[in-house]
Amino acid sequence: MTLTTSAPSEVKKSSKNKYIAALVAGFLVCATFLHGRATLFLDPSTNTSFHSWLNSISDWITFHRTSNPFLQIVVEGIRSFINGLVTFTQNLISQGSGNRSTPIIGWLGVVAIVVFVTFVISNKKIALLAAAGMTSLGLLGYWTESMQTLALTLGAVVLSLLIGIPVGVLAGIFPRFEKLLMPLLDFSQIMPTFVYLSPVTLFFLIGPASATIVTLIYAIPPVLRITSIALREVSTASVEAGISMGSTKWQMLRKIQVPLAKRTIVVGINQTIMAALSMVTIAALINAPGLGQVVLSSLQQLDVGRSFVAGLGIVILAIVLDRSTTAAAAKVEEKEPTEQSKRIRRITVGISAAITAAAVAISHSVTWAATFPGTGVIGQHLSNGVSSASAWLQDHFSNVTNAMTNIVSYLFINPLQWLLAETPWYIVGFAWIALAAIIGGRRVAVISAICIAGIIGTGLWSDTMVTLASTFVAAFITVILGIVMGVWIGRNKRADSIIRPILDAGQVLPAFVYLVPFLGLFNASRFTAILAAVVYAAPAAIKLAADGIRGVPAGMIEAGIAAGSTPWQMIIKVQLPAARRGIALATNQGLIYVLAMIVVGGLVGGGGLGYLVVDGFSQETYFGKGLAAGLAIVLLGVMLDRISQAVAKKNPLQQG
């Protein structure tokens, strides 16, 4: 950032701001005078012909599943392969098979293997964490359920990597292929799972295969995207060196590009594991066994404590897997060890391998090592504690929290919804496209126009606008939290180490765990839906904003200190402006994560598209409408993503 580059763009920016101000003023005038006209409102119980057409597709599949050769051979093949893989993993760690009532490897063996592998791929500290984490699953009383979840997750992760990494490598080499792939990836990450849950069971039947495929759809994109980015980021210098040495394309890939991209690819693996774990509860809706089942059945009984303990199990699994893969990524970067340290390491690994093997053998046959001892008294106490805490909160704070719901609803959500959902569609649509053009130029404007046309085509314009109003409020709260907390933990290492596990929990804890207390505190309302979205989206925004703050060059900070800035001046004048790009990225990701929770919002009174998706999942008649609502969410997501990305890219203050 220097004065010479920022001065001209400063001018450009102010003229842009003028356009935006004019646009907003024009919009407000039109909205006031044309209020309530051409809102394209569709009654919740009405299907359009498009919805009925989608219904007829699902009918066709039901009627032809057994007679169509494609469905029979290809789908059956995939199904039995995945079923075999998952059943094998389950027999290994989570369920008895044949004459055995316990899995092939008991709890002691599993703990030993996890600790051993963590030790080999990362370090001692993480191995200890893994030991503590895995044992606590048993102490909470959910060892078997945790292993069922782990078995399914591992199966899905292995398949995700087998597909995602090679395709990601291809996408990294051939940019055109990646362009083709992009919409598909957007689609599978934004389309709500509820929409394709029952179609997937139509194809792959009820069982591990369907649960795995549902997870795959959501878990492949992260590793695929990150692999292709990693490959492209390998410096051209090293590629050129390879060419000058006469390497073939394949050699180059194997010897230079992939090894150099390793570290980033491991980050992708990490993201894929997290994505797979976030599907645990949804997959439970189609009979996937494990912790997700406990969470769901507790929700039916409104047992907050029990669902919290099961949710905690998922968080523990996530933290163990996250920390070990992250440490593994860091380790890949380490320097070549000396001969001596290599030898010491070989001996330690050898000894721990022997201990692990012994533990596995014992756990195969000895009861105390096969089945986790005890009845989970600790989990029981924790559960009771959480239940009473939740009841106490609702008893003592619901007046305050109800007031919060009212303030935010009347002050922000209702006016926004009035503007977006009750203004003629052509005014709102035109304003959007104009805004996209001002911010992102012609390309973004064209994409927005296509998305808006698509949303109108789904027949759900009015519901989309209701959802958009809530999405804005949620994104606004997310970004504010992202900046405030991001600045705090970005500047303060100790705060970071305390807050980070809480952020992880917010990202992985199934929303079903906190829906009941949220409903008690904030009523069934759009605000409750917004809060659920914020819990999920804010951690990502906070982490990204903190990364941005930490990435501010030390030189700038020192210059600020030398100039005698107070901490407050330092934040406002130096760190925030310099981290603007990171913050713009946080905004973009925050929006996408908010969209991912629209459906959960539909379960707590959020209405709009989220409710229609839930409705389509529960009523056959509205299957097509639910699918259309899912499409509208994807279109809305793509549009918001492209516009907010344009803000991040066009930032005049960006570095480098």
Partner: protein, 316 residues
């Protein structure tokens, strides 16, 4: 893929060998399953009353008939799909679902209605008991407009908020509100949890809440909600959902079974056909599960041990 340690390589080959052993032993296990009754796949839909049905049928089929019972935790739509794919043998508590019945019973002929489970379902409009004490005439729908402003929330604009729940259940509420000229707006909360929490809060904080609910349900034993009567149901009065002005019909909750399963001659098919009990029976088992936190098996045992005569009739 990027890990070159030998230990892991060895581990992975051990893993593969284990895979073989496991696959072989699995096949052996399946062959030995209970010879006489075979396997019964019960769809277990996600509400506690249904879980109570599953619990008892599972318990009796296992212990009295020696069946291998597979309970599948799935939603209604997925359950019906299971009739076509052969993965579900029986649905124990079906609430209407005319569209699904038309598709799978009438058109595909893969399933059959095997009669009532003895439970009758009531769907309707409810308020918490304190409201009836304070506003005794609220139970008549004609007085609802008088109280509309009590129910106003941030979600309902200038009207009263009427809460709808899990969209799995049949609802005519939007049409009813319109056709009965009630000054209410239907709020689609989207889940049963939202409804129960709202009614709990209503009673605890004396906060006015009106909404859709149904019996049998374990929650009613915690808080006896009061049913608001709409114009009585007469046959055919709900034919056109757009002009409907009458209350919900009483539902005779029925069982649906897979045609091939019924023809298989499995003793479990007979048990399930005979299975019938009262709302009180179901509520007591549901309460054991939801309130006393018993497992499905323990809750079933408690009820079965106390009602040997009824179980004997099912097995006859």
């Amino acid at each position: 893929m990027f890990i070159k340690h030998r230990a892991l390589k060895v581990a992975s080959s051990v893993f593969m060998a284990g895979a073989l052993v496991a696959a072989l032993s699995l096949n052996a296990g399946a062959a030995q399953a209970a010879a006489k009754c075979g396997t019964v796949n019960i769809a277990n839909n996600p509400w506690v009353g249904y879980n109570a049905d599953t619990a008892v049928v599972e318990y009796v089929a296992k212990h009295s008939l020696g069946c291998n019972v597979v309970v599948k935790d799935i939603t209604e739509q997925v359950s019906w799909q299971g009739f076509a794919s052969g993965e579900v043998d029986v649905i124990l508590e079906n609430w209407g679902h005319e569209d699904l019945a038309a598709k799978y019973i009438t058109k595909l002929k893969v399933a059959q209605d095997i009669g009532s489970a003895g439970n009758s379902g009531i769907i309707g409009w409810y308020v918490a008991p304190w409201m009836v004490k304070k506003y005794p005439d609220i139970t008549n729908y004609k007085n609802l407009n008088k109280y509309a402003k009590l129910f106003k929330t941030s979600e309902s604009g200038s009207k009263g908020a009427f809460l709808d729940g899990d969209p799995s259940y049949v609802t005519n509420d939007a049409a009813l509100v319109k056709n009965l000229k009630l000054n209410y707006k239907v709020i689609f909360t989207g889940s049963e949890a939202a409804l129960i929490t709202a009614f709990r809060g209503s009673e605890a904080k004396k906060k006015p809440v009106i909404g859709y609910f149904y019996e049998p349900h374990w929650f009613l034993s915690e808080l006896p909600l009061v049913h608001i009567k709409l114009p009585a149901y007469t046959t055919g009065c709900d034919a056109d959902p757009k002009t409907i002005t009458c209350d919900y019909p009483p539902y005779a909750l029925n069982k649906v079974a897979r045609t091939a399963f019924l023809k298989s001659g499995s003793p479990a098919a007979k048990l399930i056909k005979n299975f019938t009990w009262t709302n009180d029976d179901q509520n007591s088992v549901a309460r054991s599960i939801a309130v006393d936190k018993l497992t499905r098996d323990a809750a079933a045992k408690k009820w079965v041990d106390a009602h040997p005569d009824i179980v004997k009739k099912w097995l006859a």
